[in-house]
Amino acid sequence: MSDISYLEALEVSKVFGRRNRSKTAVDGVSLSVKAGDSVGIVGESGSGKSTMARMLVGLLPPDKGLVAFNGDDVSQLRGKQKSDFRKDVQMVFQDPYASLNPRMTIFDQLAEGPRLYRLYDGEQRLRAAIEELFMSVGMSLEHLNRYPREFSGGQRQRVCIARALAVQPRILICDEPVSSLDVSIQAQILNLLKDKVSELNLTLIFVAHDLAVVKYLCSSMAVMERGKIVEQGDSDSIFTNPIHEYTKSLLKAIPTPNPIAERERLSRAKVQ
């Protein structure tokens, strides 16, 4: 077992709500993500995929089971180890409007993490590093001292990606990072993520409802339905040879920009 997992969920469960009106969002799920993996978690709304992501990054404690980072239970981490975990595992959220602080300049938001972890010697080096990073996500330097409200959704998502990368993480968890963006902007952000993952050798956990998007970025994926993983494996083989009925029905429902095939499908569809 030299092959140590970077991040691992062991039989994690999460229940929301009071006893008589409770809902099990994640139900005993295990998932192991090794260094350099790119793993997709796909499912529809209510499948538990976002709850899963939040537990992996440590934003939600699991009710049962545990999340392990480099073999250690995340909930037991203290001191340096805990701070390493928080730095090494970063997250990009779905809504770039809600996930930036409206009253802080972009620079201050990008510098907050590196300052906390004392990544750079002196303000000058910090600024140089942030500037380089900021340009590398496709933004121009004159925007660095502005506020989030001055940017479009796509630009804000670039800022959020830059903020996550600013602390030099090893694992990037993205929860539906492109689902609120226009198609042409979506493609830009997907390409940016793809480039950054390979350039920085990042481990990627990508949560999305869109299987085609997940396939574009992830070599393997886990399909979730009602809090459980129903199918898991190599992306290509899940697409070419899905086993579980739920995966099949998801794949069958994806519309494609192909009028001939789509007309055929619509004419066969039953109205239930």
Binding site: E44, D182, S184, D210, V213, K215, S219, L250, P259
Partner: protein, 332 residues
Amino acid sequence: MLSSRPILEISNLSIDFKTKDGAERKVLENFNLRLYEGQRIAVVGESGSGKTVMASSILRLLPEAHSSGEILFKGENLMLATSRRVSEIRGAEIGMTFQDPLSSLNPIMTIGDQVSEVLRIRGVSKKEASDRTVVLLQELGIEDAPSRLNSYPYEFSGGMRQRVLLAMSVIASPSILIADEPTTALDVRVQAQVMATINQFTSKRNLATIFISHDLSVVAGFADYVVVMYAGRVVEEGPVDEIFYRPAHPYTRGLLDSIPSIDQSSEKRLNSIPGVTPEPGQRSHGCVFRDRCDRAKETCSTKAPELLTTGEQHLVRCHFPLLPLSISKSKG
């Protein structure tokens, strides 16, 4: 299939909004559309393209906008009609559904009352309105419709709410349905079911439909004719197969290339369109797409391209289109 006269004919429709500082923001410029009986037109574009503003203005839902042009419904100019007349047309002649089913439904009114209200306002008896509501809800795929009449919107799932909205917009048997992003908020499997419902319903009634979407894939199987909009203008339009298989505008090509495909190898990069859509007010002279276009040349910044013919019913607004232009000029 196409009868000689369109039931809806929009000519030179332009819409401006005044900002607080008094500046005018053009959000739609010289829009033209002809909708024939039973025809399905998809209007596709990203945020800020003007698609929703266009659709809303057909039923005069934008009182604060300054609009010019002509909207002829069965020969009657809706731009000049009295508000009373427009109220009669809403629902009865032209039905409209909106993107967000939850905010479009009244949370404290039962489903049955909301759907049958359209009929009750027009003097249909309570019994008959309720009967017709049940029949329609069943046809639109709501199981056990009689017992669901007394349910409230919160008791329905997103897909079911969208079916209720659809029922409200078609219960008075309009001749046109305007559907504004009806499946956008839905999960992919529910989206497929709702599309199948809309498809079956509109074809059975031969209902002319304007379907607004940001997603080309969603309309691929449904539409006969596709209008692609960008920054307040039509950049390309034509029969659905032409638009998807032989796009002529670099923007349409770019949109199609931006969609990740499940068949595509993941090693291949997506051909994304660089840059962002210019805001109204920042749209300068020349072609609105030129800053994002890899085919742009000097002409594109000095002269605005016209909408010209490139094939059978296929129009494109580009100085350097991907397909050759026909010699004869269209009226676009």
